[in-house]
Assembly symmetry: C3
Homo-oligomer: 165 residues x 3
Amino acid sequence: MVSVERGVTISLDLRARLSDLYCTYDNALNDGTLELWPELFTDPCVYKVIPRENYEQDLPVAVIWCESRDMLIDRVVAVRETALYAPRVVRRITSGICVRSAGEDWLGLTASFALFQTMLDQPSRLFLCGKYQDRVVDDAGALRFTERVCIYDSTIVPASLVYPV
Amino acid sequence: MVSVERGVTISLDLRARLSDLYCTYDNALNDGTLELWPELFTDPCVYKVIPRENYEQDLPVAVIWCESRDMLIDRVVAVRETALYAPRVVRRITSGICVRSAGEDWLGLTASFALFQTMLDQPSRLFLCGKYQDRVVDDAGALRFTERVCIYDSTIVPASLVYPV
Amino acid sequence: MVSVERGVTISLDLRARLSDLYCTYDNALNDGTLELWPELFTDPCVYKVIPRENYEQDLPVAVIWCESRDMLIDRVVAVRETALYAPRVVRRITSGICVRSAGEDWLGLTASFALFQTMLDQPSRLFLCGKYQDRVVDDAGALRFTERVCIYDSTIVPASLVYPV
């Protein structure tokens, strides 16, 4: 269930639609169908993966920073065709999806994520956890992220961030 | 909230009923009330725990493979009466329950799970994570799993899988 | 989605309100806005953090035990002003929120939690997991916890439990 903070009111139907958006995002990455991932963003958009320390001090350095759907597609192509990395599976758990603010034509949401990574012949391990800070809009009938900032809790840069968060 | 993929439409009430089924499943195992677990399946049914590698290559070897409610009950009896194992607690987190397809009288769902295991006098540890691939039917008024395949992400066989996933 | 056990019936709206309560609780602690945390309890209330072993044997020793909102506020003041501890971030994942029983003016719920702790310059690690056992009431129009018992699965006392669970 998508929740809302006190002061925000949205219909049960919109809660369900938001839930579907978040789940479709997780499915695209969990299933390895990366090509579906850029379609969940508007164009232009903001997609960032940034350590909490930088985010809180307003320091700009981010591990990933995309500002259009083409940049997201570029990222997918890189993962598919040019990047070199040991095979791995990344499983994501999302919790506490919550509408925190609402504008005339957008909703501001947060959620918590935990990513578990499994390398070949190794046990699954916690890889990253943190918070999504999102802005969602209705883009011609479909809910899409116009902004998704993935703020991970650790200050160290993950050794190899292959897939999007 | 149970989510749906684009193209699938179900009522809010059915979403709630599905959510109840998944939660009742987790409760049965989290609470150690194993005896309630077989009742959540139809008879016959399919219940498998299989590594992702085997699943993806269509290799049949699974850690657990049951095809009837009696086989599930058998498993419970084994855990209760015959199996020897160090005491442990297994806590499960389920995320992203999603209706992916719908037939005339069944729903196809997936969800992600993370299992945390706690041995006596040890800290809790991530034990397994992976994906449920399910088929749910309305069995005389109650939703039940007619198929649950637990596909865990690691390729190594868990040292001791005592309880069902 | 907040689920219900067979035999319990509540409206979709009440499910949504419960979901909001749980999420607001997680947000207060995840965001570090500890001051909002006591407001989610009635006064008096019960808030306990207790190892599973003690809980199951009805042994009273708990890591935290508060019986009023003032005691909760006291805990917040301690964290803010008097306690000495290495800086950390604790991220919580909640799953399987379920109404297990209902009285005339209260609801009994359980949920699973996993807490991931991140110390400075270290990767995130699983810190604690376990079960919330809650009693929720409508307190003059707002849902609040009149009892929250946090039963963690490990028998060892966590080295340093700084923030509430």
